[in-house]
Symmetry: C2
Subunit: 349 residues, 2 copies
């Protein structure tokens, strides 16, 4: 590929900004010759970090921002008022076509609100979902939606399934991604109203490999490649994943340190444990893409270290090279969908 | 207590019926002198199991049933047509006041539907929730609702919070149970419509110790005693709990068996691991109560062994001795609530 992929990176977002953000970006720059990065953030801070590292200066820019959006700020207000913040300026670079993607480890709410308000949806997409990759016993699963749409319509879940399917096929190389609808049981008449209606739409869609309803317990087992749900349930699933794993590993550590014999045993199993913990390391996947926007926005974990940022940037490169947004447009027939919706609206008026 | 607690037990329900069901019940009978049990199920099968054991024959009855409701049967149909099944006959014993409670490890759907249709709600209760106790790092948490109400109204979540609070205070002795509303963030304006409206109701209720919104990750950490949510989200939380724990322990086992050294290490940490796994053993709690019925229905896990059935029966004894249903009526002012609702309905007509 000779074409450059130009990514805006929020140098101020997350617990380890700017140091780990800049380090991870420089690693990606050094390993990907077609990557360009524009850091948004306080110029002197970014410069100070860059000076510690070896990096290709001709592919790095800094866009100075005087403001930072804090994690707890009301997202929509923050996006509207803090026009000189690293998130707003980064998203604007994508909107204006100067950058292909934006990566942030900052406020999820601001990234989501800003993605919709500033970057904007692809015509025909009802709502852009946030879709993290979660580790499972059999490789990653895309959990879609996980933060953007709290009370979605069934038709939105259909689009999530389609986008998730295209994303996984192209980004991870799974030929026919198995799509499951998160529900309380496998029978199609089960669930709340949303799940019942969405089930019918997914069943009737010829473009996806719909395997039916799945129970949440099947997600960590790796039963599907794409798990479709509303953002409220998706958030609970993601948080339970993190919470249960954390508590079990904490208790395990406590158990291992509880006696002299168990301490010796712990030393002996350490290498095996490390391998296991790596299987469940979400930072490998480089953050959650927000799909269906005119450009890509990637939300990395708030506690991201350099590795996750590097992988987030690699994700942006693959996303552009595989032309995922063009595939959304053509495979989901988004232009026709938008025209049909416009026509329907005109008739109603 | 001189008064007997009379419990109907579904001898046919679950993967290990009737053997483990009968064994667990006999253990409870032998340790609790004020317990009476009526087994519902195939008489000759129950008799054969009883003959293997030492039990107080004067406190045991068998109600012969010719039918069994299978796990996969549509619940409402099954309840309506299989009148001679162990579940229908057990629930009828509670409805008719012959038994105080019914314990089953059989079909959750049939138990839920039958609880509502046959036993019936306490006047003033909008909907009876299913509320399993889940193990956490700091003792059990009551997850309410987890199976009964897929699209609840906000006012139902308020009643779940009140019932959960009374249950935990009396059953586990926590003086002021901390009640949390499951949501995507701690700020009160967060969440879907249901969560936003429920938050206001919970905040304004003086009878509960409402600690605000909690994220799902805080549940396994033991941040609250009562976690309030709709059944769809509750089900996802419960299933993720089981699924993640199962996958991690499976991977851990694989890691421990991966080399000679790790195998030796595994032997050395085995006692410590066993203690840890016991911390997360849900069978200690004896199944999930369905609250707000004119009597108690307890749904034990489908794979229950004797210990869980024994604990389920102990739960029924405490529930009656502590007069939980009477506390629901008085503390939640259910009679006034029912009258007010009737008056409102009359005015509207």
């Amino acid at each position: 590929m000779s074409e450059f992929v130009h990514v805006a990176v929020d140098a101020m977002g997350g617990d380890n900004a700017p140091s780990e953000i800049v380090k991870g970006s420089v690693n990606a720059l050094n390993s990907c010759p077609n990557l360009k990065v524009t850091f948004t953030g306080k110029e002197e801070l970014v410069k100070a970090e860059l000076e510690k590292l070896k990096y290709p200066a001709d592919r790095v820019q800094i866009l100075n921002c005087t403001e930072v959006i804090a994690m707890a700020e009301p997202p929509v207000d923050a996006i509207r008022t803090k026009k000189d913040s690293s998130i707003v300026k980064g998203l604007r670079l994508v909107k204006d076509g100067e950058c292909d993607a934006f990566v942030t480890a900052g406020s999820t709410g601001a990234a989501l609100a800003g993605g919709q308000l500033l970057v904007g949806r692809i015509k025909g997409i009802e709502r852009p979902p946030l879709a993290p990759l979660m580790p499972t016993a059999k490789g990653p699963v895309l959990l879609i939606d996980c933060g953007a749409n709290m009370d979605p319509r069934p038709s939105m879940l259909l689009q999530f399934a389609q986008m998730g399917s295209i994303y996984m096929r192209n980004m991870t190389g799974v030929e026919k991604p198995r799509v499951g609808l998160v529900n309380v049981g496998t029978e199609e008449e089960k669930g709340n109203e949303l799940a019942k209606q969405a089930h019918q739409l997914l069943k009737d869609c010829p473009d996806i490999n719909f395997v039916g309803n799945i129970e949440a317990r099947e997600i960590p087992e790796g039963a599907v490649d794409v798990a479709v749900t509303d953002a409220f349930t998706g958030n609970a699933i993601l948080k339970m994943y993190e919470g249960v794993a954390k508590v079990i590993l904490h208790e395990l550590k406590g158990a291992l340190m509880s006696s002299f014999v168990s301490k010796i045993g712990a030393l002996m199993i350490k290498p095996a444990l490390k391998g296991m913990i790596k299987t469940f390391d979400a930072s490998e996947y480089g953050g959650a893409p927000m799909l269906g926007l005119k450009g890509l926005v990637v939300k990395a974990h708030g506690n991201s270290k350099e590795a996750e940022i590097e992988h987030a940037l690699e994700q942006c490169i693959t996303f552009k090279e595989k032309q995922i947004n063009e595939l959304f447009r053509s495979e989901m027939k988004l232009d026709e969908l938008a025209s049909a919706r416009r026509a329907k609206k005109n008739t109603e008026e």
